[in-house]
Structure formats: structure tokens, C-alpha cells
Subunit: 320 residues, 2 copies
């Protein structure tokens, strides 16, 4: 008899529930459902339905699980299940853990989605067998998940790992600091996430800069992505070169600083910008190598995430 | 019968051995001895002698201790006792733990001095009873010690906590990046340690800047310290104001970024620059408040270190 666990990955557009084999980390059943509305009650409906669909496929009752783990794209208080701030859902101070537990009749454990993903990579992915590892995610947002001393490090209130909101100073300080989705100025995410890179390029095109980026996006600003900038870089586009120098410098320094502070065994890179921008990744790695403390670099490996989009739901299911 | 532990604080100019009551954290006997020479054999002599003097005062044999903990001002491999880099001692890759253990006939546990100090503060000081705390030290050097999940976090190889070597970008980028004592460019320590602040002021005075700092140092550049700059700031000196704006910005941002990443319950400030520069500390705290992630700020207290210069030797004695 396999031992099963139940996890949910709650993003801004979908909820995905999965039943995970505790011994192998395999997803044995899953169901993904779009979020039609974002008010907490509606999201509880969708998540419950996704869980029902995933468990019914196996003929297992939800009540037979000890608990449900949920990874939420936002800042969460692990101990209370309150989602402090989830910009993609438009939530502030939503007691989602309590709401979902009342609906399901099962204990609910909430964590940040990247903390859950880091735990998934620790249990069955790129950090398996390691005690000290940092998952760095650069996608539509930027963040990290910390495995320290063999455990998931969520900090005093559960909001640890918010690498996207460390403050950085851009190399072109003639422009004012950029505002982040969190409301603060000068966050790493404001300069290096896919969403923010695309927004900045659109702004700067509107302001009159010249770049191959627009042509590579088929002349449609809405189709500009970090990946398109990476393609323009490869063509030698001066604007893309300067932008990638800055973004790579900020990302490389931020990751180097995490390694210098925490001395992990492995840094794991994931997210759509990492996957879609090979030139940016190479430049950021060069900056990382220049900036990481020599003693912290020894014995440190830098790897791609293994579990991809499954890391969050696997990790959520297996949260302790 | 009290249970005793033996610790050593090995700085650049002195070795101090202490016998510590495990139950109260009190130092029951101590002996401090100057380092006349810095080659490893000579330092082993001095440390052994300090230990003998501290233990003989109590009539206890060194061999009756399970182990000796040593906090070293440098980067140390905790597991092997190798000191990778101790600039004040001029050491690179010195197997000090092994050398001292051979001399004493007792197991030796080596740690970075600020890791030891953080552990001392955790056991009997400003972090007592807390699971998540960061000791930030700003003195002749800059560094940190991390208490995470109730334990001392030293990282994969023992070099965790090197906050002084995170890379920062100064606000006056017209000047080239400053070189740190570690050999790298743009480290926090290069801008914010007492030694580096004084060196920079002397350089800039030589280059012709005008400031009250020199007069406040009695006209003697060798007597310039961070504390003198702080006094010039209080007199409204424009040079001191601009310098403190930059140093406070870098320190405040670096500490805010640690809090954003790790979500501790408490940040503990220690070191001579913290003690001697009240205006700088106030400015740095203002920058910290502006830059720390709001969710990580809630429930976070910022306190002065309790144990002062004793933290390192108490923590070293009680290392696990």
C-alpha cells in the first residue's frame, strides 16, 4: 500500500491539486482548474473541486488524508494559514488556510509557492540529499525557497525567502528607482521579473528608444517578453545589450549575495525567464562568479530545477 | 556541581580563554593574552597558555573538558577546523583546529567569531529564547552570525554569515568600487567597517576634500575614526553628512535585505561602530525601515547586543 499525500498549487490563474506518492514523489493523480473569480470563497470552491476531482480519480476520500498542503503565490503566515499578500489574486490578509480547512474538514498547511517548490526539489529533485540549497526562481515574479539545515526555512512568520524584494540599486541611476508590484521601490523583482522586464521595454519604446525588440515581437508591444529581449541580444541589439548588462548584474549580485550569506551546497535556478533567456542566464552567471565570496563558491554547484512546474505541488503535498 | 565549558576568542591581537558555566552562561574564569607572533605554531602556544591559565585558576584540568570551542576572526571550515582566511592573522588554509587539538589532547571545534558571538547571544543574550535571530556586527570589520530554526547556521562548509562580503553598489558611482580586505571589489565591509571608513576619510582628505573631521581628530589623520566622523556629522559638516548618507544607505539596505530574505524575529546590532556612532546608527535604521519588506518587518525587533565582547567566548565555549 503506497502512502499518499495531497497538495495544491494555487497560482494567479489556476489551482492544481495532486495526490503524491510519499515514497517516490510521483504524482499519481492531478486535476487543474482555472480560477474564474478571485474572491476567497470562490477560490475555496475551485480548490475544493480540484481536490475532489484528483482524489475521486483514485477512489480515495479527502478525509483520509492527514492534511492538505497548499503553495500560494504570495506571502503567507505558515502557522496560521493567513495569506498576507498575494498580488496575483488581489488578496491581503485572507485567512485562506482556515477557510479551506473548514470546507474540507482536513488540516491545511499553507506555504509560499517557492518555499513549497524548494521543498519539492529537496525531497525528489535537484536538492535531493542536500542539507543546504537555495531555489532561485525568475519568472513572471522573482523569489526563492530556502533549504537550510535539511529543513524548509520559512522564517519567524513564514515570509522568509522573499529574494524578489531585496532592494537593489540599478546601474543606470539617472532613471528613478522602479516601483515593484509589492508597492516598494527598488526591489530586485521590479528589474528582473519577466513581467517587469516586458513592462519596462514597452515604456522605454514608448519613450522613443530604438531597438530590434519591437520587430522581433512582430511589431506588437503586447508580445514583448524577456525571451524576445534575449533574441534581440543575440542579434547584437544595443538596447538589449545594455538592458541585459543591467539585469544580469542585478540578478548575479543578488544570487551571489545569498550564497555569501548562507553558504549553500547548491543553487537551483528555475522559472520562465531562466528557461527562455539563455543569454541572460549566461551573463548573470558571469556576474555571480565575479561577486560570490570565494570561500562560499568552493563546493557550490549551480543547477537547473528538475521538477519544473510540478515542484510546487509535490512540495506542498509533502510539507511538514 | 556546575557543568563547565571551555571557549577561546581568537582575534587579531589577543587570544582570550574562558571557562563558562553551562547553566548560567557566566564566565567563571578567564585569561587574555596578546599574540606576539602570528605564525600558527606561535598562536597555538599562546592559546594553550591562555587555556592553561584560565583552567588552573579553577583547579580544573584541560583534559576534563569534552572539547574546546574557538571563535576565529576569519572564514573557517567548521567540520575540519581549517581556517581558510583570517586577514588579521595573515592566515590562509591553516589547519588550526587540528594543531590545537594535538597540543591540548582535547577535541577542538572552530567557528567564525561572529557565529560564535551569535550563539552566545542566543544562549544567554539578546536572542535568548528566540529561534530566528541575526547578529549584525559593524566594528573594525563587518559580519553577521545567523541563528535559524533555533540553531547556529554556518552553511555547507562553515563560512555562512559573511554579510561583510555581500556586494553593494555605492551611491557615488563616479568613484571606482572600493577594494575589500578580502581582495574583492564592492563588499559591504569595504564601505562600512570602522577601518575602511577611516582609511577612506584619510584618502579623501589627502585628495583635498575639506571637512571638520581632521580638526576633530586633533589634526592627526591617524586619529580619525568612524566615531570622529559621527561627531563631525553632529556639527553639520557637509562631508560627514554625505558620507554618512552613503554608509547608512548601504548598511540599512544590507540589513533590510537579510531580514527580507530570512524573516528573523530579531536583529541584534553590535560592534564598535554601532557603539561609537549614534548618528550613523539612527540614519541606518531609517534606511532599514524604508527598505525592509513590510511582511518581514512585522514582529521583528531590532536590539543592541547584550553580551558585548564576551559573546564570542561564551558562544565558542557552548558550541554544539
Amino acid at each position: 500500500m503506497v502512502s499518499l499525500a495531497l497538495g495544491v498549487d494555487l497560482g494567479g490563474t489556476n489551482a492544481r491539486a495532486a495526490v503524491v506518492d510519499r515514497d517516490s514523489g510521483e504524482i499519481v493523480a492531478a486535476h487543474k482548474e482555472p480560477l474564474r473569480a478571485r474572491d476567497p470563497a470562490a477560490v475555496v470552491d475551485v480548490v475544493s473541486h480540484a481536490i475532489q476531482a484528483a482524489t475521486e480519480a483514485l477512489g480515495v476520500a479527502v478525509g483520509s488524508f492527514r492534511s492538505v498542503g497548499v503553495g500560494v503565490a504570495g506571502q503567507c503566515l505558515g502557522s496560521t494559514g493567513v495569506v498576507l499578500n498575494a498580488p496575483n489574486l488581489g488578496w491581503r490578509d485572507v485567512p485562506f488556510g482556515t477557510l479551506l480547512a473548514e470546507r474540507l474538514g482536513v488540516a491545511v498547511r499553507i506555504a509560499n509557492d517557492l518555499s513549497a517548490a524548494a521543498w519539492g526539489e529537496k525531497r525528489f529533485g535537484a536538492a535531493q540529499g542536500l542539507s543546504e540549497a537555495v531555489l532561485v526562481f525568475v519568472g513572471s515574479g522573482v523569489g526563492s525557497g530556502l533549504i537550510l539545515g535539511g529543513k524548509l526555512h520559512e522564517g519567524a512568520r513564514g515570509v522568509g525567502g522573499e529574494l524578489g524584494h531585496v532592494k537593489v540599486r540599478p546601474s543606470r541611476p539617472t532613471t528613478p528607482l522602479r516601483r515593484c508590484g509589492c508597492g516598494m521601490m527598488g526591489c530586485l523583482e521590479a528589474y528582473t521579473s519577466g513581467v517587469n522586464i516586458a513592462a519596462r521595454v514597452r515604456e522605454e519604446l514608448s519613450a522613443g528608444i530604438s531597438s530590434r525588440v519591437l520587430a522581433l515581437a512582430g511589431g506588437d508591444p503586447a508580445r514583448i517578453t524577456a525571451s524576445v529581449v534575449d533574441a534581440a541580444w543575440a542579434e547584437g541589439d544595443a538596447y538589449a545589450r545594455a538592458l541585459w548588462d543591467e539585469v544580469a548584474d542585478l540578478l548575479g549580485a543578488a544570487i551571489a549575495n545569498v550564497a555569501t550569506l548562507l553558504n549553500p551546497e547548491r543553487i537551483i535556478l528555475g522559472g520562465g525567464v531562466v528557461l527562455g533567456c539563455p543569454n541572460l542566464v549566461r551573463l548573470a552567471r558571469e556576474q555571480f562568479e565575479r561577486k560570490v565570496l570565494v570561500a562560499a563558491r568552493q563546493g557550490l554547484s549551480v543547477e537547473r530545477a528538475f521538477l519544473g512546474d510540478d515542484a510546487g505541488v509535490i512540495g506542498a503535498a509533502l510539507l511538514e
